[in-house]
């Protein structure tokens, strides 16, 4: 079997800033407050990227740095204490998460040093995460926050483990309905999930110690996995991610395998899901995809789409942790082999400009990309799907297979609907324009 090719480019690519993780994390952790310590640029990004969410009395805010903060004329400790007291008074959260940004990193604000002092003085836990664009891309913001939360998890559980197997903790932020669905899938195999990191309440953080087995549900959580292993001596279960019926089945099987349980009825469940989405598969089968890469879900999604019968030309990805994603990579290779398609090239830290040249020559049926490129590509006759939607849609587990396919097939279905009237617009005569740059 041929092994996967990895390429690393210049890193001049478009993605969201990792502080965007506050958007979903503040909704997930219901009693939290996220304070992003940064500049107008960060604030402007958040208010534009999160659109209307800003108006629903969000539990996040900017601590906007002013010139006095940058030049050291104001004391960070006093300023942060003042703001946190105000937050405590107005919102009374159970935890305040400080999100460090590029600016606090460059001016070396000692957030980790200041936080414990203020924490005792105002009597609210303060978790510090550095989700900056110097080190991280988009979804990795969640990784920094969860890794910081690991330290707040209790060492020992107050309750006795009711299950016949060692305690199992799942990590990764997913909507509560997905939590229920994934818990259910494991229950079917006689596995009880002891806890989730994060839980919907800060006070419900799971106990982490050497007896605990942990398993990730999102592919961008490598720092969290490392922290759990090194600081709490937990065993992290290597598994593909529960995205698509193939991924979900492999994920459940890997967990069963660790607990010496032989899975029951999984194959039937997978087959049944595949059968139920046949209408979508008809649309996408044989079509080609190009991932420009921006949210680290790319490997798992590509693997699923190959299983659906698509051909993947390139998997762009911001950051590739080959250890944390090893099982997912193995499954990708296996899937390619079984489907009889060549292994796609994995491009780390892609260069968007170079990618556009490749898209021009390959002319894929679908490009999964950020919004910066979507409209210009569509105008050049290339069909696109906005990648961020995969982050904000429920895509985990057996039950959400339809959701992913709904997203992937939507542009193709739209094209089909519009093509019916194509000659009426005389689009053919515009083919010259396709992919010409200017």
């Amino acid at each position: 079997m041929k092994t996967t090719t990895f390429v690393c480019e210049t890193g001049n690519y478009h993605t969201f800033c990792p502080i965007s993780c506050v958007a979903w994390l503040y909704q997930k952790i219901e009693d939290s407050f996220f304070l992003v310590i940064g500049t107008k640029t960060c604030g402007y990004f958040l208010q534009n990227a999160l659109g209307v969410m800003i108006f629903a009395e969000p539990r996040y805010a900017m601590a906007e740095l002013e010139e006095g903060d940058i030049s050291g004329n104001l004391k960070d400790y006093l300023e942060l204490k003042r703001l946190c007291l105000q937050i405590k008074q107005d919102r009374n959260p159970k935890v305040i998460v400080w999100i460090g940004t590029c600016t606090t990193d460059i001016i070396k604000t000692d957030l980790e040093g200041i936080a414990p002092r203020i924490e005792t003085e105002i009597d609210i836990p303060i978790v510090v995460a550095r989700a900056n664009g110097l080190d991280h891309a988009f979804t990795q913001g969640e990784d920094t926050v969860l890794a910081a939360m690991v330290h707040r998890c209790p060492e020992e559980s107050t309750e006795k483990n009711p299950a016949a197997h060692p305690p199992l903790v799942l990590f990764g932020s997913v909507p509560n309905t997905v939590v229920t669905q994934l818990n259910y899938e494991l229950e079917q195999q006689g596995i009880t999930v002891t806890g989730w990191l994060p839980a919907s309440q800060y006070g419900e953080l799971p106990a982490l110690n050497k007896d605990v087995f942990a398993c990730g549900v999102n592919p961008f959580l490598s720092r969290t996995a490392t922290t759990i292993t090194r600081r709490r001596n937990c065993t992290v279960i290597r598994a593909p991610f529960p995205i698509g019926p193939d991924g979900t089945r492999a994920w459940v099987e890997s967990i069963c395998d660790v607990f010496n349980i032989s899975p029951i009825g999984l194959k039937e469940r997978e087959d049944q899901i595949w059968k139920s989405v046949e209408d979508y598969l008809d649309i996408i089968r044989g079509k080609s995809v190009f991932f420009m890469g921006d949210n680290v879900f790319e490997i798992a999604l590509a693997r699923f789409l190959i299983r659906c019968g698509m051909i993947v030309y390139e998997i762009g990805i911001p950051y590739m942790d080959r250890r944390f994603q090893s099982s997912e990579l193995d499954l990708l290779e296996k899937t390619c082999y079984e489907m009889g398609v060549p292994l796609p090239k994995i491009v780390e830290k892609p260069d968007n400009y170079q990618q556009l040249q490749r898209i021009r020559s390959l002319h894929p049926d679908l490009v999964i990309t950020g919004m910066a490129h979507a409209n210009p590509l569509e105008a050049r006759g290339i069909t696109t799907k906005w990648s961020v939607e995969f982050t904000f849609t429920q895509i985990h587990g057996f039950s959400n297979t339809r959701e992913i396919l709904e997203l992937v097939s939507r542009p193709l279905r739209r094209n089909k609907a519009l093509n019916a009237s194509k000659e009426w617009f005389n689009f053919e005569s515009n083919q010259e324009l396709v992919l010409s740059n200017k």
Binding site: G11, H14, F45, M62, A63, E67, L134, N375
Partner: protein, 515 residues
């Protein structure tokens, strides 16, 4: 540090990028960490732009922090120059990169030695100016750069055009209804017999900038972007400029008259009376017959708007213009007019003086929301933020200024400027208020809203008790003013030390404050 949830004007580099991406064949390189190129998304989404936004980030990552950018920025400039064959590359720092204190000017100098095109470093301080001020500065910087060069090369075209002509300064990407305004402006100037010499920066090539001085004068339709350039051109090329925004019937006429004065003074040979009568008859024709809004404001329908209370908030240009229209042209009472352009607050106060009860200058959206909840207007004219405040208080809102979202980039023709603009604004204003007859009928029949008042109770404080008959009476009040009446009554009851609100108290409160 300040606690902030929302901001009206963006950071400085957004202004620079708006200018850079407005020109044709100009590329901007941001010295920025990953994720700061959010401008591309905004442009592509809001303007539904078909072309790739000519903005690239030269990424500042951990390696750059450790070793400095070294060759990276220079290499990125070179590469862009080769790939895109840009006439000009503008390097812009971001707030993060500006504290690194790297010598970007040095990179720019080095890159420009080998470049065929030009390379400039945007001269803006990220901690002192906002998006609008930065846009104004960057535009002036580019104009100055090219005119100084053409001066040296003696290629500047100083000879005025034979026919009266104008440069329109300040039309840029992501401007509020800017594309529509431009079309309307061009039509207006064409009707007056004035040729448009150059429009900057929108769609302009830098190589044509040497032609700027051949226009007879400059027109700056929006105060926020372009005044610095107009002043520079006045000082160095003695070009007069008009900065009266032609929004609203009266200001459009004022703007046209200012143009007439300039045209007369530049070309004194032409028979003045002819020009005067030509311009004046044009204004009269447009005002009386071509637009509908003059007649509309005199029609019976508009009578119902008389004395209705409104609040206006937005950038200086639009908020001032709309305040004046509401007060002078539609007979609406503006209880408060405000702007977030603090740097231009003196001008704003001067403009709205006499047209509103109160002026609010703030960049804090909660101050605006507080003012709205205190004054309880019948309609709000503001930005996207005020629209949401209006939703919260159940007060209709017309959007008249940036910041806006995609809904305010309409596909249809919707200028704010000129005579068609007055029609659009009249529609916007009229549709924002509850329609006159509907208003009466609702009041007469007790409203069509039969939702229980109990819902309202849940969100209010509970120190007051509504008696059964008081509640019944409250339910009779039309839905869209019920909340207001309820609040007023409760306020009244608290002031009077009353805990149980009966029908009588409700009436007493109404009488006491005319609720």
């Amino acid at each position: 540090m300040k606690l902030a949830y929302w901001m009206y004007a963006g950071p400085a580099h957004i202004g620079t990028l708006r200018i850079a991406s407005s020109f044709t064949n100009v590329h901007a390189i941001m010295h920025a960490p990953l994720g700061d190129d959010y401008f591309n998304v905004m442009r592509s989404m809001l303007e539904r732009e078909r072309d790739f936004t000519p903005v690239t980030a030269s990424i500042v990552d951990r390696h750059v922090l450790a070793r400095g950018s070294q060759e990276k920025v220079v290499e990125n400039i070179r590469r862009k120059e080769q790939d895109e064959k840009s006439d000009l590359v503008i390097v812009t720092p971001t707030c993060t990169s500006s504290i690194l204190q790297e010598d970007l000017q040095n990179f720019v100098d080095r890159a420009s030695i080998e470049s065929v095109g030009d390379v400039l470093l945007a001269d803006v301080n990220h901690y002192r100016v906002n998006e609008l001020q930065a846009a104004d500065r960057t535009l002036e910087q580019i104009i100055r750069f090219y005119l100084e060069r053409s001066e040296l090369q003696k290629t500047t075209i100083l000879q005025k055009t034979t026919e009266p002509s104008v440069n329109i300064i300040g039309l840029s990407t992501l401007g509020f209804h800017a594309q529509h305004d431009y079309r309307e402006l061009k039509r207006l100037l064409n009707d007056l017999g004035i040729k448009v010499n150059l429009v900057i920066p929108d769609g302009c090539e830098v190589s044509t900038l040497k032609k700027l001085p051949q226009a007879w004068f400059n027109l700056v339709p929006y105060r926020e972007i372009g005044l610095m350039t107009a002043k520079y051109l006045q000082k160095n090329f003695s070009m007069p400029y008009v900065s009266t925004t032609p929004i609203g019937m009266i200001d459009t006429a004022t703007c046209i008259r200012e143009i007439r004065h300039i045209v007369e003074s530049v070309n004194p040979n032409k028979s003045n009376t002819n020009l005067t009568s030509h311009f004046e008859s044009y204004i009269e024709l447009q005002t009386r017959f071509v637009t509908n809004s003059t007649w509309f404001s005199r029609s019976i329908d508009c009578q119902n708007l008389t004395g209705k209370k409104a609040v206006v908030f937005g950038d200086a240009t639009h908020a001032a213009s709309v305040t004046k229209i509401l007060a002078r042209e539609l007979g609406i009472r503006v209880i408060c007019a405000g702007t977030y352009c603090r740097h231009d607050s003196d001008w704003f106060r001067e403009q709205v003086q006499g047209f509103c009860d109160e002026v609010l200058i703030t960049e804090n959206h909660t101050h605006v929301a507080d003012m709205i909840s205190r004054t309880e207007p019948s309609a709000i004219f503001g930005t996207q933020m005020e629209r949401h405040v209006g939703k919260r208080f159940d007060i209709p809102c017309g959007v008249i200024s940036a910041p806006v979202h995609i809904q305010s980039f309409p596909l249809g023709y919707k200028p704010f400027i000129g005579y068609e603009g007055t029609n659009q604004i009249a529609d916007l204003v009229y549709n924002s208020f509850t329609l006159g007859m509907e208003d009466h009928l609702l009041e007469f029949f007790g409203g069509h809203d039969t939702k229980s008042v109990a819902l309202l109770n849940q969100i209010e404080e509970n120190d007051l008790n509504w008696s059964e008959d008081g509640m019944k009476e409250l339910q009779q009040i039309p839905g869209f003013v019920r909340g207001k009446v309820k609040r007023n009554t409760e306020k009244f009851a608290r002031e009077q030390g009353i805990t149980e609100i009966t029908k009588q108290i409700l009436y007493a409160a109404k009488e006491a404050r005319g609720a």
